[in-house]
Symmetry: D2
Subunit: 349 residues, 4 copies
């Protein structure tokens, strides 16, 4: 008899769901026993994602057909909006199940902020209160004892790992933060959109959602919490012709600190972290260094403008920016070694 935890992945036909499957299928303490994808129900997973041809995976089913009591944990890669109602139903059917939500539905703690950015009142407000923000490095203890973790967006993970220790230590002016963010195309999901066609996104570069991206309030929530005051940040994302990877170039104003102070503060904050590395002086983070892995690399650089500095962070949006971090959180929740199933080195080239 297997002592592995029984895992379901909801929304297995999307990229975050698929990357959860990729990692969970080789996890030493996990066993995928349920996969849902309502529009593909009845099909084999390898028909939807042919790179899984070597795995023996359960058929895709509709989420309404799942017996939640047979599962120890679910990873939820569903679209925002519908997720909250489904998770409420799941937790009602099995209050002991662990939920790793990779959607945006439980990330914002403030109901008004949620309603403003997502266009409707939250439909499971009591769970919104219960959910723990799943940025592992900052909420480790709470995550370990929770049953519902709202895994952060990819951009917030990259930005917050670069900025929160600096905000906490009051080394930077939290009211003058500019985040120029660059993301690979998988960040837009597997849905069919004209701007993510190869012929449109390839060999070119475009900003999008300038001033209106829904990851901005999430970043503000956490920097505000770290700084102890409400903040507004600039967050300007750009679509880059690569599939995976995210790089945030954060421009900060120093509050009396030096560039070395910033690097020291980050190095101290992440000294014992298995997945967050602060680059040595002069070493440039690049997304190639983390592709396919759960690692984050952060570098700090002087600005030519006095009293300014540049903090650059990179991660893989589908791993540390989504499925990988969710598994890291699951490891905490079940008491597994935090790195279990996540030690793949970046695939380069």
């Amino acid at each position: 008899m297997s002592s592995k935890k029984k895992i379901g992945v909801l929304g297995a036909s999307g990229y975050t769901g698929a990357d959860a499957v990729r990692l969970l299928a080789r996890h030493p303490h996990a066993e995928i026993t349920t996969l849902t994808a309502n529009t593909h129900a009845g099909r084999a997973m390898e028909d939807v994602f042919p790179h899984f041809f070597m795995l023996d995976l359960p058929k895709l089913v509709e989420w309404e057909k799942v017996d939640w009591e047979q599962l120890d944990a679910v990873f939820c890669g569903l679209p925002h909006g519908t997720t909250q109602e489904i998770i409420a139903a799941v937790l009602k059917a099995n209050p002991a199940i662990k939920v790793l939500d990779m959607s945006a539905d439980f990330r914002l703690r403030d109901r008004e902020v949620y309603a403003k950015w997502y266009g409707h009142e939250h439909r499971a407000p009591e769970l919104q209160g219960e959910a723990v923000y799943g940025l592992t490095e900052f909420y480790r203890k709470k995550i370990a004892s929770s049953r519902l973790v709202a895994c952060p967006g990819c951009y917030p993970t990259a930005s917050l790992l670069a900025l929160v220790p600096l905000a906490k230590a009051k080394l930077i002016d939290v009211h003058d933060i500019l985040i120029d963010a660059k993301s690979g195309v998988t960040g837009a999901g597997r849905g069919l959109k004209q701007n993510t066609l190869f012929s449109e996104a390839g060999e070119g570069l475009s900003p999008y959602s300038v001033g209106t991206h829904r990851h901005a309030p999430e970043i503000e929530q956490e920097i505000g919490a770290a700084a102890g005051s409400a903040v507004t940040v600039n967050f300007t994302p750009h679509l880059i012709p690569m599939a995976r990877g995210e790089l945030c170039t954060c421009y900060v104003r120093l509050d009396g600190a030096s560039v070395d102070d910033l690097r020291d503060a980050l190095s101290n904050a992440y000294r014992n972290e298995p997945f967050v590395h602060v680059a040595k002086k002069g070493v440039m983070p690049q997304t190639q260094n983390v592709r396919g892995s759960n690692y984050v690399q952060i570098g700090v650089f002087p600005d030519r403008i006095k009293n300014r500095a540049i903090v650059i962070s990179v991660l893989d949006n589908l791993v540390k920016g989504s499925a990988g971090q969710a598994i890291q959180n699951m490891n905490l929740m079940f008491g597994f070694p935090e790195t279990a199933g996540l030690e793949q080195i970046a695939l380069f080239p």
Copy 2:
């Protein structure tokens, strides 16, 4: 007998030289009669750039072998440092020749700034004084009457077209300008470097020369001139996995002005310009819109931080960022229509 101007391209084996050839070969008033490339002397151009198989071009020769009196103009795509001595020799041999320099050698007007950033005293200081900065839209009259034009770098062209009219109109704080710049790989030239190999640069994204890129002082020179005071700007370039294209995301602090004021100022500045277009409110510039063309597109967007705005500009680094602008300047110098040979529409997809 042809009444076309006789043109030489020096450094024809590099990307900027080749793009000058691509455009000049179809220019209605120009005829390429000389091509130099010292390391490839004696070879046919189509052996070095096989996409020219359909053209009847002169053989590559060493620049020392050229009879400058037979030429009306030269385009110079040589590396910085050596360019200044070669151009001095060319102008000595034929003082009436028109020189379109695409290198960095004559762009900086201040000798000390030049010496600091390029590591040696200028070797043709009198010509440095004579050279006109070739940003067509701002120096049109001077260019028309000059014989030596220092065509700007690709990044300065993109940044300055976005910022100079705002600095002149005192709409922005010139001491708080941050330019997050993104460039395609051709910007690094055709020389063999590990970081520009397909397997290294592809499917990834990396910042480079953070705080140390030689285009920064050029940007500062021109913004300083526009504002009437010395300035220091942030300029942070990133290498993007695409061959051509450049996008500058400029973060500016407003000096009492509104975002619409900025857009209006730019629209007025470029109302009659054939190649610079200010995008309508809400339209996002993207490099795909200008690939292979001499056009520039600029957009203005509100920042979520109060009193801040974002100005985004795109161009093709080898065309308006180099060879195209050089031809635009040549057209002025010879009294041709400014758009002659430059009306290609962007190649999309």
Copy 3:
């Protein structure tokens, strides 16, 4: 008053329609006066293709609203199946109009073959009989005097230019032709399909429609006509992670001839052709050499297997493989110089 011909482009929201617009907008003897795109009717062309921001183009309208008598020619970039009925209506309304069809509807001369491969009886059989196959180099005279030209598919253009002169000269065994074809992603059009998303098509390579691609019967029709007997060819297409470009590697069995005989036959066939170049011995055709241009490059190579040879051809699928060849045909039909508007050199890099 303009003496330019008045041109309509039907299906202007697709890639072939857009490339026709890109080229026609700078054509010396053409003027775009009508653009149709039924799903986008009422919108500006630059909202659908933002790289046209610098052009003053007519609004998109529904094809049913067009007054065909106001047009001298139409380019038709509509899906196959519907095209035939629309063209019938156009020619009924204005029998003197010139029609350049870029769809598949009139390419096959045999009604049964058409019905077999396209799944329905032809709906304009009399026009099918009238239409001239628009491979310019082989049907120049017929094209010049016709009013309805069925421009060939991109793969047939590349394959037939490589093979027809060899079949005609009986240098190869026409019953043992294998065409391994590789195409960029624009070949699949602008419609939303999962396999043409950047994240799916990028960084990978896949065969498709093996043994079932509709360009096969078109290739067989023309090689059969050249050889004087019905033939079946192997045609195996592959999707390559690039936007534009097509390369056909044709494996042929020699019928007594040598590899040099093949090269000579092709060189003779295309000696006076403005757009088809036979590469010198040892020179390797590559798609980069023709990107964005109307040129074709063909090379001939020995096979290690005795009595076999390899013929390789490249073109840009949207130009010589579609819109460019259509314009070349239009030039013939109106008596313009055949190269008018088509002399752009390949955009490399």
Copy 4:
């Protein structure tokens, strides 16, 4: 005390060496204790390959400085030609060491064929005789008992897995095999070459070494051995704009067999193989399905030409095509489970 085998990687600054490091660093029974790279001796591995920042690896040293008696096995990713002498020295110093050679030096069994294709007499002919060809699936027993394994080239691995079972079973005419091969750019190594620059190889496609590629005699050696007679094959490689991945489209003439016979023969041959999968009828292999993994996928398709079929295989050139297969062989040689350290699923997207 670790009971892991002590491993050295020679030529660790190349792509195959690096991929060996990537996989060995997470191998349960291996420990990397030596890394050599003569041109980078003295540097940290993460300075040469920054994506290894999270690993604690030995410094790079010159191969002459290594104490071979401290090692249980070496992986050799050195250029061909020099490899043979170095391996001779290694085996002299430590006759019990296991050598996994990823170069071409010991792949050809016939000395004359070697001399003809590599331009010089073999410099370690006795070892050439001893070496076992490391295509695991066909030489498993010999590999398990050998100390020197010549791991096959990437193209031969892909081609031979597709063809050898068919040749053995006499289902195909071995004198009429055409292999149209497509490879990602890492296949050309990390050396600086103009044609592998991003700006040259991107957005385009080119054949290379047509009729002259050194993997051809290797393929012929093994198909000849399987068929029991000398053969000459067509092998035509193409460079594809992707970093990793290889696809061989093999055109074969049937010797009385049906397409289903071919698929059955391959399915039977690989029924118990952990890494070779024969796709179900109609399923198209694509390189995306195996990227970063040690898996191979093979599909069989009917040709429209009678008595012909198409066999398509895909693999990752740096994994099953090089470092992965070398580790698979090491596992056999040490008696580890054959899949140890090699079960990563393809990274898609």
